[in-house]
Amino acid sequence: MRVFEPIIELSKGLGEVLRSFLFEKTVTYQYPEVKREVRPRFRGRHVLNRYDNGLEKCIGCSLCAAACPADAIFVESSENTDEKRFSPGERYASTYEINMLRCIYCGFCEDACPTEAITLGDNYELSFTDRKQAIYTKDMLLLPVKAENMLTPQKVEPKVFTRSVPQMEDPRD
């Protein structure tokens, strides 16, 4: 009965294919039409966050750049005024650049940030055709705002946003 042996094996195999085709969920995605949701702790391209009123969380302290093991971040800061306010407090980042070719997505910048301004987001679709494109500037990293009047710089009421680092209710961690 050696003749039937391959046929049996073949149909077993085809049966498995048929079974999985009919009863199993597909694990592959039709990328890029369909995009897979990333895990909660996924570390993708950075974003610079804003407060609810649109002010930037980043205060230009450069601690992310200090923590960066790949020296991928360059920050320069300037002074805020109530007429032209970018972020709460005295200081804001006037230049913020990340060289994505250098970045190793370790997330140390996130850890170092005293205001939770920089977080590693979900975006993993990074491709460049030249080196200059790999440098993400502040405009590219900042989250979009919900309304036009929330763009920075804002003209704000004097002496309201005087503190750079938000007061933490329960500074346990």
Binding site: I59, G60, C61, S62, L63, A65, A66, F74, E76, S77, S78, E79, G89, E90, R91, S94, T95, P114, T115, K159, T162, R163, S164, V165
Partner: protein, 816 residues
């Protein structure tokens, strides 16, 4: 200072230290760090912060026998019951200090905890963050948690401008009073003070304008927190992002050692630029201080008006040219006009630049003129201060004479150190026709009429009380300047001073001799190279082929502009576009001192090296290289690629430099106080000197050569007619000069042109105080605000140099 030594046991280690110093200093000398905030080695101890708490013990003495109680063959130690401050306790023989016991450490820990109860902890946005003693000591000695209630923190407005140069953040202040004490004790400008008390105690400025001191920047160095920060560096960068390179301040002849902090800047198109200037320790020059001019007026090297390409005049217009074409043109013209060749260079250039320029002039047979209103360099070469001079060591039994100079305006750090010497007991004699800020520290103030400078000096050599004190002084230094004088006047004055010093035997030794308060950083160097100041520049330039380096005679003086317009050929090498480059036939872009290396000679004849800190701008070249390129086209071979080689050649041919070499200038030795290491809480953020203390040149009198003071004939005195006045030049710290005015921050301090006269002169002339008056003299006319200074002699008007009115020497003027 006493040299008596005592034995002290610190943490079980017995060490020998000089008697009378504090426990903190004794520990520091032997590598044991006691944390401090309010203590500073340059200030008197106050014991305000309580950070340095230690256990102190002394050998027990039997009250009956008055003998030391012995125990097991060693003196029995009685520890004092309470912790004591190591900064106020002075060492005595047999003292026992414990800094690391549980009790001491708990005391230190509690102090930090207390200090932090009212500190905002906004380190991320604080300019001091990263070089902050409070940060460091909190990490080392502080508690991880605070037991105090967060809501009880003092909340105040964030920054308060304390004047336009310095910002104050009162929340961050830990009330150590270092700034207040610096202003009172060291700068003697008590413009800061405390207001309120307890937790509300805060620093306030007591002056108008705010923080009116020319040493204000130093308080930001010694502030142990971020309470005082400079407006110039505000949010400029984080300290750890900066690179440091050693340099020399180019603003005045003191030659303060500086460190240039550099970083890439987006605004500058990604170029590396100087972010701030910090003092670098040199106890014999500037100690650990720097004046505000040196700290804030460095921006000119980064000006947008920098020349970047060589240019030559074609069809009446300046157009870009290659280095080859431009140098060829200059060389051709200079060769053609060999007999009329003149080099006009300023003391902004380094020794090497000036050496090459002088060599070229000598080979061609031309004249080398120093662009300065002050002469007398030939005298300072002979009887300049001896090697080993340290004004910081002068005191009782010593004498200092300051004549025809307002040191406060001309050389602030000399003012500071001379003033301190006087406070230590040195006899200070200030001679000036008008009142200066140094007067109140002087033992003798001599007022003389303009034109009587030489007579005043000669009087010091005669028999009178002041002259006796001067003659008997163990050491004596004379500072002479160009306050109210031109080239002729200063040359005569220098000769008179030189003769006086020689006669009284105050030459050829350390701490003795003559110091010229020159107008630019390296004027002394120019004199060493053989340059000479020229009284009648107009005549010297007219109809000549002029090679100008680092000077702007056209912009400075309309008379010189006229003279240069009649010149056969003008080649200019400079940093910036000036009025002189506009009329030039060939323009060469030179490199700034921040972009290259070289050496300067200070007024105390100390040769010091500066180093390249930032990349070269455009197509510019160092001055000595430009000269060598032109020389090559003329058939003269000069070194043009290595500063070191030029220096070697220079030391071979200039006698005073014979013992020097480039490496010797970079040598350092241990200095006290120890600063600039990881323990910034001790001396502040001043940089440690690792790149050279420089070497002082030996004056002819010290080498043992013949000292023949040149005789200078005194000029006939000017006699203003009725309705005329005598206009005399004075020097201002902040002026319109290109090296100062490029700093926007200093605009307010530069102010407007003001001429000073006494009230009777103003009345006689019929001019209104505080209003504009027209002044005209010698082909120059302009307007200036009338200022009243009653210490000025009648019939005399003081006209500041480099403030829009071209005045080089005393002249007869008309004021309306």
């Amino acid at each position: 200072m006493t040299t008596k030594q005592v034995n002290v046991t610190i943490n079980g280690k017995t060490v020998s230290v000089p008697a009378g110093i504090t426990v903190v200093e004794a520990a520091k000398m032997h590598g044991i760090d006691i944390p401090v905030f309010c203590h500073h080695p340059k200030l008197e101890p106050v014991g305000m912060c309580r950070m340095c708490l230690v256990e102190i013990g002394a050998p027990m003495v039997d009250p009956k026998t008055k003998e030391v109680v012995m125990e097991n063959g060693a003196p029995k130690i009685a520890m004092r019951p309470k912790l004591e401050t190591a900064c106020t306790n002075r060492v005595f023989d047999g003292m026992v200090v414990e800094t690391q016991t549980q009790k001491a450490m708990l005391g230190q820990k509690s102090t930090v905890e207390f200090l932090l109860t009212s500190h905002p902890l906004d380190c991320p946005v604080c300019d001091k963050g990263g070089e902050c003693p409070l940060q460091n000591l909190t990490m080392a000695h502080g508690p991880g948690k605070s037991r105090f209630i967060y809501d009880e923190k003092i909340r105040l407005d964030k920054q308060v401008p304390l004047g336009e140069l310095i910002y104050l953040d009162r929340e961050r202040c830990i009330q150590c009073a270092r700034c207040v004490r610096f202003q009172e004790d060291i700068a003697s400008e008590p413009v800061l003070g405390f207001d309120e008390r307890g937790r509300k105690m805060q620093i306030v400025s007591l002056s108008e304008p705010g923080f009116d001191s020319i040493f204000s920047g130093n308080t930001t160095d010694i502030c142990p927190v971020g309470a005082l920060t400079t407006a110039d560096f505000r949010f400029g960068a984080r300290p750890w992002e900066l690179s440091a390179e050693s340099s020399i301040c180019t603003q005045c002849p003191v030659g303060c050692n500086t460190t240039l902090n550099t970083r890439r800047e987006a605004k500058a198109g990604g170029d590396i630029v100087v972010k701030r200037v910090m003092p670098r320790q040199n106890e014999e020059v500037n100690e650990i201080w720097l004046c505000d001019k040196g700290r804030f007026a460095y921006h000119y090297a980064e000006s947008k008006e920098r020349l970047t390409k060589p240019m030559i005049r074609k069809d009446g217009k300046l157009s870009r040219a290659s280095w080859d074409a431009a140098t060829k043109l200059a060389a051709e013209k200079f060769t053609k006009n060999k007999k009329d060749f003149v080099v006009l260079a300023s003391g902004r250039l380094s020794n090497e630049d000036l050496f090459n320029l002088k060599s070229l002039a000598d080979t061609v047979g031309g004249k080398a003129i120093l662009y300065s209103d002050m002469g007398g360099g030939d005298v300072t070469k002979l009887v300049g201060v001896g090697a080993g001079t340290n004004i910081g060591k002068l005191g009782k039994e010593d004498a200092i004479v300051v004549i025809a100079s307002d040191l406060y305006e001309e050389a602030p750090i000399w003012w500071l150190r001379v003033k301190q010497a006087a406070q230590r007991g040195a006899t200070l004699i200030v001679a000036n026709p008008r009142g200066t800020k140094l007067d109140k520290f002087a033992k003798h103030v001599i007022r003389y009429e303009h034109g009587d400078e030489v007579k005043t000096v000669n009087d010091l050599g005669k028999k009178n009380k002041i002259a006796d004190e001067f003659a008997k002084a163990k050491n004596a230094i004379i500072f002479y300047g160009s306050d109210g004088l031109g080239v002729n006047g200063t040359s005569a004055l220098a000769s008179a001073c030189g003769s006086l010093l020689k006669e009284t035997g105050h030459v050829g030794r350390a701490n003795n001799g003559l110091i010229g308060v020159w107008q630019r950083a390296n004027d002394q160097g120019a004199f060493e190279m053989g340059f000479e100041a020229e009284a009648d520049l107009e005549k010297a330039l007219k109809g000549k082929a002029v090679y100008i380096a680092g000077a702007d005679p056209v912009g400075d003086d309309p008379n010189l502009a006229k003279a240069l317009k009649g010149a056969k050929f003008v080649a200019v090498q400079d940093l910036l576009e000036t009025a002189t480059t506009e009329i030039a036939d060939a323009v060469f872009p030179a490199q700034a001192f921040t972009e290259r290396e070289g050496t300067f000679t200070s007024g105390e004849r100390r040769v010091q090296r500066f180093y390249a800190a930032v990349p070269v701008k455009g197509d510019s070249k160092p001055d000595f290289a430009i000269t060598s390129m032109i020389a090559k086209q003329m058939g003269v071979i000069l070194e043009g690629s290595s500063v070191r080689v030029v220096f070697d050649l220079l030391s071979n041919s200039i006698e005073a430099f014979a013992d020097l070499n480039y490496d010797k200038l970079a040598e350092t030795k241990e200095q006290f106080p120890i600063v600039g290491r990881s323990d910034m809480y001790y001396g502040g953020t001043t940089y440690e000197n690792v790149k050279g203390l420089g070497v002082q040149l030996l004056p002819m009198a010290q080498v043992g050569g013949t000292v023949r003071i040149p005789k200078v004939r005194k000029e006939a005195a000017l006699h203003p007619k009725e309705k005329e006045v005598l206009a005399v030049p004075i020097n201002k710290l902040y002026d319109f000069g290109i090296t100062v005015s490029s700093a926007e921050l200093l605009e307010q301090r530069i102010g407007e042109t003001k001429i000073s006269m006494n009230s009777s002169t103003a009345k006689k002339l019929g001019v209104d105080v505080g209003k504009n008056a027209k002044i005209s003299f010698d082909g120059v006319s302009g307007e200036a605000i009338v200022n009243i200074d009653d210490s000025v002699s009648a019939g005399v008007v003081l006209v500041p140099r480099s403030m829009g009115l071209a005045i080089r020497e005393p002249v007869v003027a008309k004021v309306k």
